[in-house]
Each structure stands twice: as structure tokens, then as C-alpha cells.
Point group: C2
Chain length 329, copies 2
């Protein structure tokens, strides 16, 4: 049994380039003693940079991948044609190497999902969903699923998202029976569009889901539920409207700070930035594949690597604790 | 020609009761010299209170309505059974009295919409939509439509919402050719669920709509468009997530202010509250009826009456300026 949790990391495909990812890896190795990494990308660059930063050799391996999938590539196409890309080589390796416990990539989201279907589908062919994790007002976290992978959903798909989100919150945060809410336009069970109303009834009837009822957008992250279920169109709105509103208000506070030249308010800006820095929360998580896959934003900085590698370590440890290793999924 | 713009105001159906509405009316009459009101509610109370506050008699009339529609009433039912309620009496009066230029109510939204269909439908039987007005980053306003009246929409309905929103922004803010955006999960024309993709093409083809393309949730109020079109389910999320996020961040700032006891930050709280006090923005507007109908929130304070009566005055004046009086609609 390996004493490390080994994570495979795609070093290409982000806006800020491989060096930012490598800095993140260095910080993550320092922050998490049980972390080991397999870096995928240009061997020469990776060898030079890991050496220059003095990364511990016993915890760093490199897999050469000359190709790259960009955001201009058609996802399904790229998965089949760009097999020398860092993303696809990483997914193929993750699928066959039992030691690897999960993957982090900042590349093309669609290709990451399509690739997960090709290489890491579960035996029951679960449809993958893209989740986001938000800190809730009450101090915990809420898993919003789906945030854009599937924009036209049937009630059955939404029930599946509820199961995947529950599984993720159990594995990541040790919540035994995650509370599942259904995003709607009112908290009453009669509220919702056609699909949401049908889903509501299915969730009430599902014995293996701890369904607590409808949740309105204003309470999305109030901490009332651990998993918030919606179709990818609505979820994308929740995600982006939250982000847009937070950015806007923080910009207003910055303007006010500049006008008043108050050092107190400048300090407050720092405080708010740390609370609402969505990029440091780790971006999206692909649920439903055989191993956990984390999509960090294309614009992510090194904090994203530190935080998401911690998430993968937690999942690996908790799955072991729950006595359900990856091989059982 | 009457020199006043006369607005009919439902004094019942709000959480804070008639006295709060009456205070709002007093403030609105003071703020807007051209405003006259017809107050609908308990005659005795209204006579006593308008007298006690010394409201100008030539600008205040009263219509007695002993009944009330509550939020527990079934909307469609209430419209037909509660004809002695303040809301229904006001709608009936508004429909027959040419002098009245619009209505304000804080009562049951569903009943207000159902009542507007019964009493103020346009000859072409336009389906009403519920819009919200948000201040945009660029200093203007954005009309979000629909925010919850119709949660399952066809592409044709969304095109109709684009027209209604454009008409409203012309009439309220004198924008000659309002820029219409379509809410989607990506700015590219290929993004969206099935209904949004079909709507996109219809909007491209519509010659009487100034369509500028898809808008993502993070840019909903960036000022890129004057009208943002979506179905009532998504619109409800945009509205409530914006509100929830703003409330949350302002709460964080208040906590921080208390902890640091900084008077500078307390002042900032006041500044943010004034920027993001959604209740003062006037709540929802029912589009598609023969005369403008404004729904203020059940929890609204007097600012809502001051702001929404100004909106109705502007619409009346601009419609006159555009040479399209109410009788032509």
C-alpha cells in the first residue's frame, strides 16, 4: 500500500500556462504531506521546473504529452483525435493505474467530460454531471449540481444528480446522509416548471435520498441543504449570477475605499476577497465517473491546486474509511 | 385635460399594512407635484389618515373596498369571487376610468396578474409577463423579463417578452431602440437549452427587435442590454440569487463593521444598502396589460411608493411624447 495519495495533474490548457500550475503543485506538495503527483505535459519543461523548485523527487513523477486540447477544440472530436494531448493521456493513465486517486485539469470542460465518459465510465453508464462547491452561510458547503453539463434534463436525470451529489458530499465532507434540496421558484411543493414538479415527486418517493424539499435561489447557499439539484441551465445561472453579484459589490467597496482612502475599508476588501474568491474554491467537479475529476478554472491561480488536491486526498481517505475503495465503484 | 397624472393605489394586501402604504403616498405626493392618487381600501381609515397627514385634497380620492385578497387566496379563484377586494375593485376601476394612468399594489402577485388578464387584456390577448428592473453597472437600468409569471415557455413566448420589455424600456426610460439580450449559459449563439437555441434564431430574424445576442448570468446587469429575456423559472433564479448574494455580502460587511467598530465601515454599510435595496426599486412590473401595473413587494416600505409612482408618471409622459396614448394600445 502506497503511503501517498497520488493525484494526476494536467499542466496544460489553462489561460495562465503550465508555470502557474507548477507553482500550484509546489505549494500543494508543501501544504499536504501525503500528496504525490503525476504531472502530465511537456517532459523537458516539467523536469526543469520541478528540479528548479526543489520538489521532493519521491513524490513527483512526469508523463510526457506533447499535444494540447484548447478551448477552441470540439470536445467530442478532441477526445478521439488528440490522444497525445495532456488531458487525454492523463485520463487514459488514470483509468488504468490503480495507484492514482483522482485528476485535476484546467482545460476544456466539454472535452474533460467527454473524455471521462470514454475512459472512466462506471459499469452502469452513469451520465456525468458537473458540480460546484460553495461555502454556505452556516459554515458548511453546498454542492450545486448540475452547473452546465446537461442543459435539457428529464426528471430522472435530476434524481440521478441528487444521488451523485449525495455520494460526493459523503465522500468529501463525511456527511452521512446529505440533505438534498431541489432548486425551484418557490419553496412550496407546488412550485416549479413541469420538470421540477415531476422531479419533486420522484425525490419524495426515493428512499435512498434525504430530500428536504424545494429551495429558492435566495437560499441556494443558506446552508439549508448539502446538495442543491437543478438542470445545467438553471445551475449555470445560479453559479454565474452569484459570481457576477459578488464581483459587482466588491468592486463597489473597492471604489468606495479609493474615494474615502480609508485603510479600514481596504482591509475589508481583502476580507471579502478571501470569502468570495470563487477561483480558490476549486471550480467544477465531474461527478459520476469512476474516479474523482476536478476541473479548475482556465484562469485559476495556484490556490486552486492547493485546495483541490486537498479535496482529492479527503475523498480518497474518506472512501477508504467508508470501506468503499475506488475498485468497488 | 387633467394636469395631474392620476395613479390608483391598492392600500391592502401588504405585510406592513395600509399605514405604511399611506405614508408612502404622502411622501410620493410631496416628491411628485404632478401626482394625484385614487386610494382603494377601507374608506373610514383612509379618510382619517389622509386628513391627519394633511394630504392635498385636490390630489387625493378614495374608493371604498371592504374586502382583501391575501397571499393564501388562490389567484384565479380570488379574481372571480373577491370582487369587493381592494385589488379587484382597483383593477375594474382602472379599466373603465380613462383618467387613471396606472396602478400600484403590494398584494397577491398571482391574483394581480390574473386580474390584469380579466380586466385589462389587450385586444390581441397578449400573455402578461412579470418584469423586474435592476440598476446596471453602467448606470442605466435593465429590464429582466419574465421573473416568474410563466415558468414553462415556448420560444414564441420569449420573443413576445422581448417585445414587451422593449416597449416598457421605451416608455419608461425613453430608450428608442432597446438592446435585447437572451439569457443563456454561454455568450455564443450555439449555447443554451433547446428553447433558448430556438428563441435565439427567432430573435435574430425578428426585424422589430434590437437583438444583441446571448448574455451570461454574470453579465445580467452589466449594462450590455436594456432588456434581458428568459423564462420565468430562470428569471426567478436571477432575481433571487442576486438578492440572496447581495444580502449575504452586506451581512458580512455588517458583521465586520461590528467587530472592528469602525465608523467608516458603518457608513459603507449605509452606502451599500442604498445601492442594493431591492425593495426600493419597485418590485415587479406586469407587462402586456392595457395600462402599466406595478407590483411592489409585500414587505415594501414607503420608498417603493415614491419610486414606483415616479415610474408611472414617466411612462404616462413618455407615452404622450411618443404620441401613443393609452387608448391606442
Amino acid at each position: 500500500m502506497n503511503k501517498f495519495h497520488k493525484v494526476i495533474i494536467d499542466t496544460k490548457g489553462t489561460d495562465k500556462g503550465p508555470l502557474e500550475i507548477i507553482s500550484g503543485v509546489a505549494a500543494a506538495l508543501e501544504a499536504h504531506e501525503s500528496l504525490a503527483v503525476l504531472l502530465v505535459g511537456d517532459r523537458e519543461l516539467l523536469e526543469k521546473e520541478t528540479e528548479a523548485r526543489g520538489m521532493p523527487k519521491e513524490r513527483v513523477e512526469i508523463l510526457d504529452a506533447p499535444g494540447e486540447i484548447t478551448n477552441y477544440d470540439n470536445p467530442a472530436d478532441a477526445v478521439f483525435r488528440k490522444t497525445d494531448s495532456s488531458m487525454i493521456k492523463a485520463l487514459a493513465k488514470l483509468a488504468e493505474d490503480e495507484e492514482l486517486c483522482g485528476m485535476i485539469s484546467g482545460g476544456n470542460t466539454g472535452a474533460f467530460i467527454a473524455g471521462s465518459i470514454r475512459y472512466l465510465s462506471r459499469p452502469d453508464r452513469t451520465r456525468p454531471a458537473l458540480a460546484a462547491i460553495f461555502p454556505s452561510v452556516s459554515g458548511g458547503y453546498t454542492c450545486l449540481v448540475d452547473t452546465g453539463a446537461t442543459v435539457d434534463c428529464t426528471p430522472q436525470m435530476l434524481v440521478q444528480f441528487a444521488k451523485l451529489g449525495s455520494e460526493f458530499m459523503r465522500d468529501s465532507y463525511k456527511i452521512e446522509s446529505p440533505r438534498v434540496g431541489l432548486l425551484s421558484n418557490g419553496s412550496e411543493s407546488t412550485k416549479g416548471n413541469k420538470v421540477v414538479k415531476e422531479t419533486h415527486q420522484l425525490l419524495v418517493d426515493a428512499e435512498d435520498i434525504n430530500f428536504i424539499g424545494n429551495i429558492e435561489g435566495c437560499n441556494a447557499f443558506s446552508g439549508d441543504c448539502d446538495v442543491l439539484v437543478c438542470d445545467g441551465f438553471a445551475g449555470n445561472q445560479v453559479l454565474k449570477v452569484t459570481e457576477g453579484t459578488a464581483t459587482r459589490i466588491i468592486t463597489d467597496v473597492v471604489k468606495y475605499a479609493k474615494k474615502t482612502e480609508s485603510p479600514e475599508i481596504m482591509k475589508l476588501v481583502g476580507h471579502l476577497m478571501s470569502l468570495y474568491d470563487i477561483s480558490s474554491l476549486g471550480g467544477g467537479i465531474i461527478l459520476g465517473s469512476r474516479k474523482p475529476l476536478i476541473k479548475i478554472r482556465g484562469s485559476s491561480g495556484k490556490d486552486a491546486i492547493v485546495n483541490t488536491s486537498e479535496m482529492l486526498i479527503n475523498i480518497a481517505e474518506n472512501r477508504k474509511a467508508f470501506n468503499k475503495g475506488q475498485d468497488k465503484i
